[in-house]
Symmetry: C2
Subunit: 404 residues, 2 copies
């Protein structure tokens, strides 16, 4: 038991290729002006794979291809470009996604059906496929694995990556994640990409179950501007190289794996929210004592997505009226007369009525880079969280004036 539920440790240095048998690289190949714009992840052996994709009805070519590719539960490589989303590009876009897949497979000498493709960047412009094909030939298996996180960035200002370790059956297991969010070089959509590697051994079915459940409380609880991208993709590869017995049933080992996964996905989610386009602050909304965790998450997401709450936090304005109004506007039945709200632990509303607070302490609290908005619905025992960023001049600037 102690071994199964061993501590999860975050390493000081994150590396997507840290789990046994993984490699990665990133290069500048000319899709963006200067920075790295093409990268891959490769596993020595085919890995169990799970994926979740955008719910937008407009889906980029790579999304459609990946859904087919991962159907059999195995994947050995992921090829990713930034600078162009290959979305709304018609039939030629699908051909380009397949060309990317085939070229990477040839370079790695593996079956194309073991290669997933992801793109992020501007919508509606044909992918410069020659640059991508030439670029793939510049990628190395034993490349600079830390360059991968940069190759997938667009308007992101910082890399989002994490590596954690734990023990399963006496074997050290490692899990790494890399994500990008927040926008595009030619700003277009707040596309979210997340790639997770691990040497844990787990069946594809359980891996998909774990990921599908997890995103409900992690990536799906981020909101930057309420828009849903055509390209959102999260892929997890588990290559089983850590050496323990394969997780094939919903056991305590499986639960431990889910906790590891959640540690990684939550860290990446918070990283994406903190680096929202133009953001100066992370907003972390926690709703407790709700009838269900789904209710709690819905209320939290409504609050963190409110433009009026987001601008108030940018302005360091403890304007809790906007928070209670956002709660009331959610699709969850609430009783406004018994709700408590606090901002960075300072109560502003108690039992549905204004609470006097010390203005100086509040001003100081709202200077913080992270604002915790805590809401007690007094309506049950479930809880949930959501993360977002403030709405700033720079958000408008990035999305209005860096015009195509």
């Amino acid at each position: 038991m102690t071994e199964l539920l061993s501590k999860i440790t975050q390493l000081d240095s994150a590396d997507i290729a840290k789990p046994i048998g993984f490699h990665a690289d990133g290069q500048h190949v000319g899709l963006k002006h200067k920075s790295k714009d093409l990268g891959w992840i490769f596993s020595d052996v085919p890995a169990a794979v799970a994926g979740v994709f955008t719910t937008n009805q407009v889906q980029a070519a790579p999304i459609k291809l990946d859904k087919e590719t991962i159907k059999d539960g195995l994947l050995q490589a992921i090829i990713v470009n930034s600078g162009n989303a290959n979305a709304v590009t018609g039939k030629i876009g699908h051909q380009h996604a397949k060309t990317m897949q085939q070229t990477a497979a040839d370079s790695l000498n593996i079956d194309p059906n073991l290669v997933a493709v992801a793109s992020t960047g501007i919508i509606g412009q044909v992918l410069p496929i020659d640059k991508v094909v030439n670029g793939i030939h510049q990628l190395h298996i034993a490349g600079d694995s830390k360059a991968f996180a940069h190759a997938i960035m667009t308007t992101d200002t910082v890399e989002k990556s994490i590596t954690v370790q734990s023990q399963i059956d006496g074997h050290t297991v490692t899990m790494s994640g890399v994500a990008k969010g927040s926008g595009m070089l030619h700003p277009n959509m707040a596309t979210m990409l997340g790639f997770i590697t691990t040497d844990v051994s787990i069946s594809p079915i359980l891996l998909q179950k774990a990921l599908s459940e997890d995103v409900e409380t992690s990536f799906n609880q981020i909101t930057i501007d309420g828009d849903t991208s055509t390209n959102d993709t999260v892929l997890v590869m588990a290559n089983g190289q850590a050496g323990h017995d394969e997780i094939i049933t919903a056991s305590s080992t499986y639960d431990h794996f889910k906790t590891m996964l959640h540690t990684v996905t939550t860290a990446l989610s918070i990283g994406i929210a903190s680096d929202g386009e133009g953001a100066t602050k992370l907003l972390a909304v926690t709703v407790k004592n709700s009838e269900s965790s789904l209710d709690a998450r819905m209320v939290a997401k409504k609050v963190v997505g409110s433009s009026l709450v987001k601008t108030a936090m940018f302005g360091k304005d403890p304007n809790w009226g906007r928070i209670i109004a956002a709660i009331g506007a959610s699709d969850v039945a609430v009783d406004p007369d018994i709700i408590d709200i606090s901002l960075n632990t300072i109560p502003v509303m108690t039992d549905g009525a204004p609470t006097d607070f010390n203005q100086e302490a509040m001003t100081e609290a709202l200077e913080q880079k992270k604002i915790a908005i805590d809401i007690d619905l007094h309506n049950g025992s479930a809880s949930g969280q959501a993360w977002g960023s403030d709405l700033t001049y720079d958000y408008v600037k990035i999305n209005a004036l860096y015009s195509t």
Copy 2:
């Protein structure tokens, strides 16, 4: 028939007291710094009344009171203040709303149950009821009726009002509307208030039916920032002084009345959207060839509410990828491969694929104060519209930095 369906003419000068038997006034009573902040509308005789109110679960004290007040279908006066929303103010807030109602009724020498109350302004601060009571004593029955539209403004930069006339059974009938939108003096919520007066004679039941149906295609299709206020109110008073027979069945006369009402509500809706906080442009989205008009309205509202579309229009960026992505993210089933999109009549997407357009013509088109975004779903024969504004630096400024 020609008489029943006579032309609807908009008068050059709008006046909420233009219909026979109506009066209005507005004064500065000290709730706001300088500008008018209290007003009323009064009918010589009790009028049929209809109302629609915010769907937010957090409802300001006046909303709760008005719902009771209009239950019997009759109303003779409306008293409105700006500068304070009397929302989330606990039991004292309800007392204050009743005091407002009673004081106005006493001044006008009518039953308090014939007086509706509306408030707009900051949430969570106790209404300075003494100022309101004193202020009511400064209002006159034969006052400055054009001052009413100013007395209900908050961050509105222009008055929104309209007066139309038509004929019913050989009698001239008049309808006027006044609205405010876009935000608050201490910005807090984009509260929308709308008041409509008419001397048409119509039963309260039909009046409510007409209003409830109409708002679905008018006021409910405006979105400034996606937040729903605690105070949104639309009230229509029809005092029957024009002299024609009362409209008591769904006849062609009733249809004509609905057309008049829609002319007024649409003009006010477009006025509110054009004057959205910080707006430089009106965005008018029209969706056609949809399976149902509800679908069309849902798609239109999703597009006009997208932060990315709104910032693109501010930046004069023909970034139609954001428009198709917003369409795809709506809850309406669409086929992205057959959709057409145009911006101020210039096609940007045809049959789901990019359309080449003249950059110069597009730049000129996007300089306009009104941007028509036309979307053809090729999926039916219904249509719908929605209105909003662009998302600008000034929106952020108004909502972040004019801090309480």
